[in-house]
Amino acid sequence: MGPMSLRRSAARVLVLAVVLPAMLVSGCSSRAGAAKTELTVTGSTTILPIAEVAAEMFHEQHADLRVLVAGVGSSAGIESVTKGTSDIGTSSRDLKPEEKSLGLVDTPIAFDAIAVIVNPSNPVRALTTKQAADIFEGKITNWKDVGGSDQLIWLVNRDEASGTREAFSKIVLGGAPFDPKSAVLPGTGQVRSVVADSATSVGYISLGFVDKSVKAVSIDGIQPTEKTVADGTYPVSRVLHFFTKGKPSGLAKQYVDFVLSSAVQSKVVRDAGFLPVAEGRK
């Protein structure tokens, strides 16, 4: 029965298993003194669609250069860039106070809003920030208390590695703890598919991932749309970051500049449902 403790870890770890050999290869090539041809970008699953598509476009333009992208969660991304196992750490949350001294340089690459999503069959269309907070803290447990039908509310939460959870907790809950009875799922896609199949559920995902299978409710009377995020009226929004150890240089700078170029910003970032930094608010 010993092997059971050796069982493979989560899907996210499988991603690492794919990326790790690649990291080793890139590590070897840089040690060999040759110009770096592979860049490793690790972190937020929210940023994955931007970083991945940008990486493919980048490779099309520079056939000899390759950008490897992995989605392992913002915290893991920040950790890996700090340790040097990846060149760019992507994060959908700001640095924690204890991370500020790690020498990471922040390049904001897009804006994001977090939508509170319910099943399309749910009659509830609007919540206040306070109601959303009470629901996720477990203080409101029945849909009838927020204008819905008399059914228990089933919470769908993200794991603690998630930048989306971190941001939602900070912006909506004000740091109060989530109801521990909520289901904890390791990815945005899973949250969406579970809410899509379950009539009484509620979850939260980046606006970029909201599709027809779920319904985003308005918060404090503001429907999350590109416009309300851009003008800053939608309350649950945040900045997406690329972190590098020191100022981006060489291949990392080339890639960061490419992500900030209008080709990526006005196409890839928008297609993923995020807002370009150039047109952002404030």
Binding site: R7, S9, A10, D159, A183, V184, Q190, D197, T200
Partner: protein, 323 residues
């Protein structure tokens, strides 16, 4: 271990376990009995040492894992205290609460429910394969059961998540995560383990016992229920304990359908977190005491495994004494 020398091959008897041939059995000029060649002698000795090395690798593997997990996990017992670690029911590591009682209870709930569903099914399968099925049907069913054992657990999990969970969400009114879903998946996963070992146990009941039972006028059902199952009891209990081990250690399939809430579930359709799934969920981001606590959880899983193995050994010994 001992190589039994047959009269015709004139092999020397090699000493048991020491990995070295007996000195007195070494070939020496003039010794009438040891007529094997020097080359044969060294080949035998080399093979014996090779098998010893194989066995040592397994033992060393277990020892290394145990030492490593123990070394990394021990500090958490020192820090929060063994009693608080095992007896605390709040698992909120990022807030400094390291109680795993909830996780232990959840693992037990998941395992016992899976056994309650899976064991009767598996033993029924074993009885069918060993006593009821004609050879043609048996050749069809047995590979199918064996195939169940070969399916990777992540495939079970994916099946549960994508197919089973939405159905259970529909009729339960919840999310479809929870004990009920886990029980179904685990019951199917432990079925081949329990069925295969129970079938072996049933087959090893001497044919004479069956014939005696029929000769007494017992029907097939009476023979199975009153004679064969009691006779194979020890082997079937071993099978169930091995199934338990598989169920409690299962991780990938469970993490996908359990819902991972660190509370004792309020009903069989509510999400819950177990000893194994907490390691998968938290390992990617855990740091400091949190990571140490996960190794602490691994120690507990190790201890549970050892208890299961020890139980099987004790039961088997007991079975030999009474049987």
């Amino acid at each position: 271990m001992t190589l039994d020398p047959k009269p015709d091959d004139r092999a020397v008897r090699l000493s048991e376990g020491s990995g070295r041939p007996n000195a007195d059995a070494a070939p020496s000029a003039g010794s009438g009995l040891s007529t094997i060649s020097r080359a044969t002698y060294f080949k035998e000795a080399a093979l014996q040492n090779l098998f010893l090395v194989c066995a040592c690798v397994a033992v060393a593997g277990v020892a290394l894992i145990f030492l490593f997990v123990g070394w990394r996990g021990w500090p958490i017992f020192a820090k929060v205290g063994l009693f608080n670690f095992l007896g605390g029911y709040v698992w909120h590591p990022t807030k400094g609460d390291f109680g795993i009682l909830t996780l232990i209870v959840n693992s037990m709930l998941a395992t016992l429910g899976a056994l309650a569903l899976g064991a009767p099914l598996a033993i029924g399968t074993a009885v069918f394969l060993s006593e009821v099925a004609n050879p043609r049907i048996r050749d069809l069913v047995r590979p199918a059961v064996e195939l169940l054992a070969g399916i990777p657990s992540v495939v079970y999990g994916f099946f549960g998540l994508v197919l089973l969970r939405p159905i259970i969400a529909k009729f339960s009114g919840g999310l479809g995560f929870g004990l009920f879903t886990v029980w179904i998946i685990l019951a199917v996963m432990i079925l081949p383990t329990i069925a295969a070992i129970s079938e072996d146990a049933l087959r090893s009941v001497p044919e004479g016992i069956r014939e005696a039972s029929y000769a007494m006028g017992a029907t097939k059902w009476q023979t199975i229920w009153r004679v064969l199952l009691p006779a194979a009891k020890i082997g079937i209990i071993d099978a169930i304990i091995l199934g338990m081990g598989r169920a409690i250690g299962e991780t990938m399939a469970v993490v996908m359908v359990a819902g991972n809430a660190p509370v004792i579930p309020n009903g069989i359709f509510a999400p819950f977190l177990t000893l194994t799934t907490v390691i998968v969920m938290d390992m990617p981001y855990a740091a400091g005491d949190h990571r140490t606590a996960l190794f602490g959880v691994a120690i507990i899983l190790f201890v549970i495994s050892m208890i299961f193995v020890a139980t099987i050994r004790i039961i088997s010994r007991f079975g030999k004494e009474v049987g």
